[in-house]
């Protein structure tokens, strides 16, 4: 059995709520031989068992195989912004102690990985990611930190996480083949773009943009959608129940990326540089993009042009648009 301890700090609890959405979660943990020592929702023993458990871990009489931390480390006022409950001291101190003992440390959600929403703007609580301060290596534990198994902190980034990202990471970890990307995120969900599988792809191809927030067209040009840059399998894996941000009709805010909370522009607006959206794909020469866009716009089928500016499909395939509305 592998012991898993789950603690929360500077976050909203949403990643735990999302985790619960994983179908047959308890069965998956059982299959993987994971023993939940403590999780704020799923496996709390009685109140007075928390500190004896922590003491046993600190003494080394209970093995800590996996430490899942949900929420940033909070460092303002010497860490007092997150005091411990039931004892003196602060959570940051406990997290540091436990991290040093764990075989694996998993940062659950973008707050924990990079600072995320808890490190928004002026960041009064001094929120910082476990091994990154936004995009800078370092963070709370330091860039050189390695777990007992010799690995960096595993960043299950996302706001909130897709439950499958964590469940599958646990499975791959137990098989010994969890591959991490350059931000120490599991590569299996960051090797593609959120754009992949977006139901609005055809509108994107023709640069047929939505003029209103609930129109069907592409959201990149007018509403700050970052799906063509953002990494994640949201539109392929789909959220429990079969949704995604784009399927919900709203822009991708790139929540798996470090620093997403401070985009430097209003979330729902697309900053333009010389008339071009700053959200263009990053791995394509701008001149080509401009040339292709001009061609695509000229070649836009009427069906696509009309539907892009409507909340519902007005023109089905193989039928010429007679008029809009």
């Amino acid at each position: 059995m592998a012991n898993l301890l789950w603690l929360q700090s500077g976050g909203c609890g949403g990643c735990s709520q999302a985790l619960l959405l994983q179908p047959r979660l308890l069965e998956r943990l059982e299959t993987l031989g994971i023993n939940l020592l403590w999780h704020p929702v799923l496996a709390p023993k009685e109140e007075d068992s928390f500190w004896p458990l922590i003491d046993q871990i600190l003494e080394g009489s209970v093995a800590l195989d996996m430490l899942c931390i949900e929420g940033s480390a909070l460092l303002a006022s010497g860490g007092l912004v997150h005091r411990l409950s039931g004892r003196n001291g602060h959570m940051a101190g406990l997290l540091r102690q436990l991290s040093g003992l764990a075989q694996e440390v998993l940062a659950i959600g973008s707050c924990t990985a990079f600072g995320g929403m808890s490190a928004l703007g002026a960041n009064p609580a001094g929120a910082v990611g476990l091994q990154y301060d936004n995009g800078r290596l370092g963070g709370f534990l330091g860039g050189d930190f390695r777990t007992q198994s010799g690995r960096p902190v595993i960043n299950i980034a996302g706001c909130a996480i897709h439950p499958g990202w964590l469940a599958d990471s646990l499975s791959l970890l137990s098989q010994g083949n969890l591959v991490l990307d350059e931000w120490a995120r599991p590569a299996f969900y960051t090797e593609g773009l959120v754009h992949h599988g977006c139901p609005r792809n055809e509108f994107y191809e023709y640069k047929a943009s939505a003029p209103e927030p609930n129109d069907l067209g592409c959201l990149m040009e007018n509403f700050g959608c970052k799906a063509t840059q953002a990494r994640g399998d949201c539109n392929i894996r789909l959220w429990p129940g079969g949704g995604s941000c784009l399927r919900g009709g709203f822009s991708c805010i790139n929540c798996t990326a470090p620093g997403f909370q401070n985009p430097g522009h209003p979330f729902l607006e697309t900053p333009k540089v010389a008339g071009l959206p700053s959200t263009l794909p990053t791995d394509m020469p701008k001149a080509w993009f401009v040339a292709l866009s001009a061609l695509a716009k000229a070649a836009t089928p009427e069906r696509v042009r009309v539907n892009a500016t409507s909340p519902k499909i007005l023109v089905p395939p193989n039928k010429r648009a007679e008029s809009k509305k």
Binding site: G14, L42, P44, W239, G241, G248, F250, L268
Partner: protein
């Protein structure tokens, strides 16, 4: 004094970290102090941002009630536009809120509260073996989690995803709901209804909602003792949990699920009768808070949130909200009493505001919401608008949005100046229920509910866990 006090925490099966300090008086709790030990500072972080950024940021205050946070922000922002909400959007927003709330009402019972009945402190009770079905990881528990997930899955076609959706805009919904989506949603709702009907009520839901007094309730529990709720009520009555955790504070509800200006659950303030609610009567007091600010309690519309983590005399990051200077409590119990639901009123008359009343109110509310959710779904008109176009620009000014989240009254109060957020104050349900003392020394509702609990060698019995959880605290939300 400090040698004899007992400090408890952290608590599992509540949302977020909580510490409780108990001071004994003879063999009872003489005074209780509840501490919200974590501060993030969303209110100051929102300052300076573009107004619509609140729609991204505010739901991240709380991953448990993110729809409620979004709708409160949406409503506050809409107050500074000329946009009107189409009827479809109103129905879909109500439906989304009802889904999140219902999921919370269910989760509260199965994930947070009922497992309490398997505490070692109860193992000498003759019902202990029967209550094994409430333990973590049992079949009923797993079925409840699956039912919760099926219900929350409905938010995928409605809102894209949960938690943290960006689908709720001042002008309406970012998508439309087609007839086929609606058909699928009705199926999912039917699945949830079937679970509730079978496992929770054993076919006795309507009979439960129609109960008129506590004697009828006891009869119902006997008749339905094979159901999860019937068993819980029987145990509760045997243990006297109707007298556990009693408080006498007024109750507050903003009113919930408005359609064309009319609420499904009427709002107001309960002081042995319903009085009209006036948001201008709300103030927040910083006397016990690790926050810096003026001594005089302020309206949240004028509120400030500045960290002072080592302030002398403080013991929580939470503020102490008051209504007309009084401590009030919020939540499903307050909503149902204020709305005048007959069983809730009867429970209040006979028992008052105790553990069993607060727990039963959740099931009363859930039972009332189910048919309403179906109605909202059926009333969606796929061919009518879900969004009213118009100027999305948020005008300068002050505004607020008041919502009933699962755990009670949630308010967002904001100020826009020069196209930027200059003030953003959030008053969450747990802010009311887990309030610390104010400058006049009045303890908050949970602090009052703990007084009088028996202590054994200075330690409380297992009932403390029920008293705390009967309020369903959400500490992340409370301090934000």
């Amino acid at each position: 004094m400090s040698q004899t006090q007992t400090i408890l925490g952290p608590f599992g099966r509540i949302e977020g970290d909580l510490e409780i300090r108990l001071e004994p008086r003879e063999n009872q709790v003489g005074a209780a102090f509840v501490t919200a030990p974590m501060f993030r500072g969303f209110e100051t972080m929102l300052e300076g941002r573009a107004p619509l950024d609140a729609l991204v940021i505010a739901p991240r205050v709380c991953g448990i009630c993110s729809v409620a946070q979004s709708l409160a922000a949406r409503s506050a922002l809409a107050g500074l536009t000329d946009l009107r909400l189409p009827r479809n959007a109103e129905r879909v927003f109500n439906l989304m809120q009802a889904i999140e709330n219902t999921s919370d009402l269910l989760s509260h019972f199965y994930l947070y509260l009922a497992p309490e009945l398997q505490r070692q402190g109860y193992k000498d009770r003759k019902w202990f073996a029967q209550a094994k079905r409430f333990a973590l990881g049992t079949e009923p528990y797993k079925k409840a989690v699956a039912a919760r997930n099926g219900l929350l899955g409905m938010l995928a076609p409605l809102a894209g995803k949960w938690p943290h959706s960006l689908s709720m805009l001042p002008g309406g919904l970012t998508k439309t709901i087609g007839a086929s989506e609606r058909a699928g949603l009705l199926d999912h709702l039917g699945e949830f209804e079937a679970f509730v009907s079978a496992q929770v009520f054993g076919g006795g839901l309507q009979a439960f909602i129609n109960l008129k007094n506590t004697a009828q309730l006891a009869d119902w529990a006997l008749e339905y003792q094979h159901t999860d709720l019937g068993l819980f009520i029987q145990i509760g009555l045997e243990e006297g949990w109707e007298r556990l955790g009693l408080i006498k504070t007024p109750l507050l509800s903003y009113g919930a699920y408005f359609e064309a200006g009319f609420p499904l659950f009427a709002g107001g303030v309960w002081k042995n009768q319903v009085e009209a609610f006036d948001w201008n009567q709300i103030t927040e007091d910083l006397a016990s808070s690790w926050l810096d600010g003026p001594f005089e309690p302020l309206s949240p519309a004028q509120g400030v949130t500045r960290l002072d983590a080592e302030r002398e005399g403080a013991y929580s990051y939470a503020k102490a909200p008051r209504y007309q200077g009084q401590v009030v409590s919020v939540g499903p119990w307050a909503r149902q009493v204020i709305d005048g639901q007959p069983l809730a009123r009867a429970l209040n008359q006979t028992w008052g505001s105790g553990v069993l009343s607060r727990v039963l109110a959740r099931w009363i509310e859930l039972g009332r919401l189910l048919p309403q959710m179906r109605q909202w779904l059926e009333q969606i008109e796929p061919d009518q608008p879900f969004y009213h176009s118009g100027n999305l620009m948020i005008k300068d000014g002050q505004s607020f949005g008041l919502i009933e989240a699962a755990r009670g009254s949630l308010g967002h109060f904001l100020e826009i100046e020069g196209g930027r957020i200059t003030r953003y104050q959030i008053l969450a349900p747990t802010s009311w229920n887990f309030s610390p003392r104010d400058q006049t020394g009045q303890p908050g509702p949970a602090e009052q509910a703990l007084v009088g609990l028996p202590l054994f060698k200075g330690k409380p019995g297992p009932e403390l866990g029920l008293v705390i959880r009967s309020f369903d605290p959400c500490m992340q939300c409370q301090v934000h």
